[in-house]
Amino acid sequence: MNTLQYFLRRIFVSIIVFFGVSIVIFCLARLIPGDPARIALGPFATDEMVEQLRETLHLNESIFIQYGIFIEKLFQGDLGISTYTKRPVLVDIISYFPATFELVLMSGLLMILIGMPLGILSGKFKNSIIDNVARLISLLGVVTPSFLWAIILMLIFAFWFPILPVSERMNEALDPPTLVTGLLLVDSLLEGNFKVFGDAFLHLILPGLAIALPAIGNVARLTRTNLSDVYEKQYIEFAKSYSFSEYRIATKYALKPASIPTVTIIGLDFAFMLGNAFLVETVFVWPGMAKYGVEVILAKDLNGIIATALVITTFFLIINMIVDFVVLLLNPRITTKD
């Protein structure tokens, strides 16, 4: 099987997983207590209106028919109306997904830029003071949940040293750039608006760091362990005996194999962040999809729940494929046959 066939097969399997998840979410969403129509219309709506909405949402049909209607509309690009925001769910997803995606990109970047160097330093200078400090930082990162980091960061940067913004994606006084991708950093650069770019970047730092810190700890610990293991391999000793430079040994012979498990974890962490950003988004008033996802669950907005879950599922599947591809590049010994 060549690489192309392998990825085509992965895409096919991902589509099956996507529909499998859609069935599970579709059924689970209907197990949440409460009548979605009554919740949507409020306590004062007449019974007739509630019944009419139930009809509109096809809630009186069997679950099989409901799922069939959902899939049919999905293929038409129609995710239905959100009973929570009263808008088309697609509009909600388009509004909220870029905010979370940009935040997760920032967190992912911080995770790689801080986590890997921390792990490399730790692994290279094993059992030294540098290693101990790096391990302490990693441990704190791993054991402290993101929402607590959010509060700690807010305490530091909102109260003690109020130098960074603590709410929303950009300063309310600035005019947002023309919407192209929904990612403020990209859109502002496309427009050449560096003021908005700088402002949006600053707004990303604290929430991005709050989400990234646990993952940074994870990545650093894993990189350290793998790097330590690799440094004990015979071929590293062999390279040393050839008087290769430390830099060459580290970058060419040690880091590449050591980073394969880390890349897998980075991919998974990256995907997890998308769904787990809820509390951080709440603390930093971030208008993102993770917060929306939890709120639609509380409001039993069936269309909103399914759409959010499917977006996250798709993201997971794409990230998994990218990770597999990167791993193939990093280790030629792994073949598509494996």
Partner: protein, 532 residues
């Protein structure tokens, strides 16, 4: 070289932004927050923040006067009853909608029909209205099926929309010839006459209002040019933003510990606001043992109101609650501020329990509070402790709102007691009492008592049809006493809130606006406020 200069530019931008990210703008702004979601459609609004939006963007025919001074004309010049079943309302002339169209009677008729056809929001207030017609361009006639005294007060909740503007933006929908009745259009646009226009509206994130410079009543000279309402912001974040001068008016739902911390800050004032609402432990009157009036009276007398009251203390001086004296609450017609609160008397409670036909040791009471509002749990725990004093066993459960509203639809599934807060929608006791305590209204979250008291029913029905205000006050005060005597429900606390307000907007105009209106959502009248 190019790369270096690119990065230099980015770095410079960042530095400039760091130095200037604090709010710098020529326009004046008030930023406030509330729990999501914000509803901007005048036929769908029902909650506190919805009301804030609608009161600022739309106008009704009547308005609430300040300091409990009764109702006053708003888009109308006055009203009269040619007969007990007919109300004629005369409209002000020359009032302009945001579109520039002029208000006339057709707009009122259209707004009413839109509200009733859509059947949501405050449509339930107008169940007795048989028809609404435009007698001429400036007179509207409301016909009711029976004399209906609360109608004028209810008109506060009939927000008038611009018929021509909405009809021009109607698409296909569920309402026959009326298409979608402009539902999609009014999701993000305003079609009212109000002091502010809707500039941006994301019901889950924020709503931005901008000043309507052509508003017929004008604005305070220092009224904000823009209002930003943010949804579901964490208490810790609100505190940070208030202290940084990036937020002006907080919601009233901050935890007491945050309020206590803010009370020590120089840059924030805590403004006391009496709300037309109360917290109750709603007793299920149809389920044993509370279908026996003596068992209800026993639990009413056993409840330790003083112990609970202490839990509302923010500081030694600030207490976020007021002991209840029944169903009539501040801001509502008939409220008597001198009426003594209900008090605990455990000896009398035990005597009442002895008269009850049920043996308390045979019952395990299921006591519920709404899981989304942890603040309510102490109310239920207090009831559990006091019920155990009488010999009951009792369990306390946090019920998700959705599950509660489902359970309450049958009396058999409604908990023995549920902690619920209720706010007055209009300053008339009918809207508050009939919907909760008339025997025909059981089965909603408001009427978890499943009340079934013929004497109370008779008084509530009489109150609806009596048009003399002095007589109505007597009727509702009598109904209030019946409720206490027969322990229909446990009135625990009248709602008193403390709203943190930044010194940027803390002044007599803003505070008096906050304090002098009673109806839910009416107090945040931004056109009357001032930015320092």
């Amino acid at each position: 070289m190019k790369k270096i200069s690119f990065f230099k530019t980015i770095l410079l931008s960042l530095i400039i932004s760091v130095l200037s990210f604090s709010f710098v703008s020529a326009k004046t702004v008030i930023r406030t927050d509330e729990a999501a979601i914000g509803e901007a459609d005048p036929a769908k609004f029902s909650d506190n923040i919805d009301s804030v939006i609608i009161f600022n963007v739309y106008d009704a025919l009547v308005d609430e006067g300040k300091n409990g001074s009764g109702l006053k004309p708003l888009l109308s010049t006055g009203w009269e009853y040619p007969d007990p079943n007919t109300l004629n309302v005369s409209l002000k002339s020359g009032v302009k909608f945001h579109s520039g169209n002029t208000l006339d009677a057709d707009d009122v008729v259209y707004s009413f029909n839109r509200l009733m056809d859509m059947g949501q929001g405050f449509s339930f207030l107008f169940g007795s209205v048989e028809s609404v017609t435009a007698l001429d361009a400036s007179t509207v006639q409301f016909k009711t099926t029976e004399p209906f005294a609360p109608l004028v007060a209810s008109l506060m909740r009939l927000a008038i929309v611009d018929k021509d503007d909405v009809q021009a933006n109607t698409v296909d929908g569920n309402y026959g010839d009326n298409g979608d009745y402009g539902e999609a259009y009014l999701l993000s646009t305003s079609a009212g006459t109000g002091a502010y226009k809707l500039s941006e509206h994301d019901p889950n994130v924020k709503t931005v209002l901008v000043k309507n410079d052509d508003y017929f009543q004008g604005h305070n000279a220092k009224a904000p040019d823009e209002v930003i309402i943010k949804y579901s912001v964490e208490a810790a974040t609100i505190k940070a933003l208030l202290l940084r001068g990036e937020h002006e008016i907080s919601s009233m739902w901050l935890p007491n510990e945050v309020l206590a911390a803010l009370s020590k800050e120089d840059s924030v004032d805590l403004v006391k606001i009496n709300r037309p609402g109360s917290w109750m432990n709603k007793l299920n009157n149809r389920r044993a043992p509370f279908d026996d009036v003596h068992c209800r009276r026993a639990i009413q007398l056993a409840y330790d109101y003083d112990a609970l009251y202490q839990s509302f203390a923010i500081t030694d001086d600030l207490v976020a609650g007021q002991k209840a004296s029944g169903a009539l609450i501040a801001g509502v017609l008939g409220y008597d501020p001198n009426k003594a609160p209900i008090e605990r008397d455990i000896e009398k409670a035990k005597a009442e329990q002895a008269k009850c036909k049920y043996n308390p040791s045979d019952y395990t009471l299921d006591l519920a509070w709404i899981a989304e509002v942890p603040y309510e749990e102490p109310w239920a725990l207090q009831l559990q402790a006091n019920a155990m004093e009488l010999g009951y066993d009792a369990t306390v459960t946090g019920l998700p709102w959705a599950k509660f509203t489902e359970q309450v639809s049958s009396w058999e599934n409604t908990p023995h007691a549920t902690v619920v807060s209720v706010l007055a929608n209009v300053p008339d006791p009918d809207a508050l009492m009939y919907a909760q305590f008339h025997s025909s209204r059981g089965g909603t979250w408001m009427s978890a008592e499943w009340a079934n008291d013929p004497e109370l029913d008779a008084l509530l029905e009489k109150g609806r049809t009596e048009t003399n205000e002095a007589e109505r006050i007597k009727i509702y005060q009598a109904a209030n006493q019946v409720m206490i005597d027969n322990a229909i429900t446990l009135f625990i606390t009248d709602f008193v809130g403390f709203q943190p307000i930044s010194k940027n907007v803390s002044n007599s105009d803003t505070i008096s606006t906050q304090q002098q209106y009673g109806t839910m959502g009416r107090n945040l009248s931004f056109r009357e406020m001032a930015v320092n």
